[in-house]
Symmetry: C2
Subunit: 234 residues, 2 copies
């Protein structure tokens, strides 16, 4: 926990084709932490669209960011286009090397992997991408939130909300995190019991897997390529 008197800065990455709630779920928590500033950081400050069409705007470009205490790396289908984008990977490497925490959500973990951060780490990501983590040198852990050193990993999509509450507590203590949780009335009641592969029906799981099969195959091919570059044997 940091001193309440220490102001800190969080950077949340934004890119085209992001899954918006990987950003906006944690934003709801992290932007409410006392004595802190959150910047939404992108390659450009022009509006970009998430993979379902929501328009969001970064308030700072990569180049404008100076120091970050927390680097927040969301995922979503658009992550795939950045896996070999040196500008983005260098941004992640630069800030990860200095930040108190790096917080990845969903397939943001794959971006962290491509940046070389996952070697020898325990990690998690979206259920459909868990099998890709070893290509970046990580051990997949089937938990909603995994913390290894200064790396915090949330699993798929909405798990970013749970992960962000962990981050808030690490930064400012549990009562501050609880106050944020109460404000946002986060006492979830999912109407159905289908939130993970082992809870969903066989048919629902099959449909969900089919819907992401092309993207998952592309991600695997990229993971193999990067694995070779990083010198990792799977």
């Amino acid at each position: 926990m940091l001193s309440p008197d220490k102001h800190f800065t969080i950077g949340s990455m934004l890119f085209p084709g992001i899954d918006q709630i990987d950003l906006t779920g944690p934003f709801e928590v992290l932007s409410a932490i006392p004595n802190s500033t959150l910047h939404v950081v992108g390659k450009t400050k022009s509006p970009i669209k998430d993979f379902h069409g929501l328009s969001l705007v970064a308030d700072m470009t990569y180049d404008e960011v100076v120091d970050l205490d927390v680097l927040h790396v969301p995922g979503g289908p658009g992550q795939q286009a950045l896996m070999e984008d040196e500008e983005t990977l260098n941004f992640i490497r630069k800030h990860a090397s200095k930040a108190t925490y790096v917080f990845s959500v969903c397939t943001g973990a794959l971006l962290c992997g491509a940046a070389g951060l996952l070697k020898g780490k325990r990690a998690t990501t979206h259920w459909a991408s868990q099998h890709l983590l070893p290509y970046f040198g990580a051990t997949p852990v089937n938990q909603r939130v995994v913390i290894d050193g200064n790396l915090i990993f949330a699993a798929g999509v909405t798990s970013g909300i749970d992960g962000a509450l962990h981050v808030a507590a690490l930064l400012r203590g549990q009562p501050a995190a609880e106050q944020i949780q109460l404000y946002m009335q986060y006492q979830p009641e999912p109407p159905f019991d289908a939130g993970t592969p082992d809870r969903a029906s066989k048919q629902v799981l099959e449909n969900a897997r089919n819907a992401v099969s092309k993207l998952t195959a592309d991600r695997l091919a990229t993971a193999k390529k990067i694995s070779a570059l990083l010198g990792i044997k799977v």
Copy 2:
């Protein structure tokens, strides 16, 4: 449930000072419903900021919207500035009169109330605003999601995710909603037990109440004024 062959249109309202997750939580669910289109609708298509500074952009103005099957009304501190804004209230009235469902999240219920939709209805809203519902003629119900006829109410902030899964199931059936839930890995694990006033510690609740006390007082004054205009006796 609508026929899978029937394309439908959802409109999610965006305004300055919105609590962004009242919009983005449901967006994650609703934008994934098969054979549907979601528009983010605002007074302008220029970027606006949520109450913690996230920049979002509407893709359609009030005037451009033709027919909506679902009207989604988010809340947040910025709702207060719209309570007597006839352009906004007329937009809500016009589309609510024709929509299959009206879905309010958090203090979006107060906007629906100001538009006259709550008379004689069971409703819910953010815990700090529950006591305001009778001024709009509604009976407050302490549930996370309340459905009365074609009105669906989610309580505070993150309850919009649960509410949206109900809406998805009403529109396209439970398996379609479950597939969305699985994709978004919505199997929440809040790290703390403080998500409602009766779960939070006394100190956390007091701090959270104090943080919204000025806004709550303003909302009460407005509710009383609108109550008189609507001819509702509390």
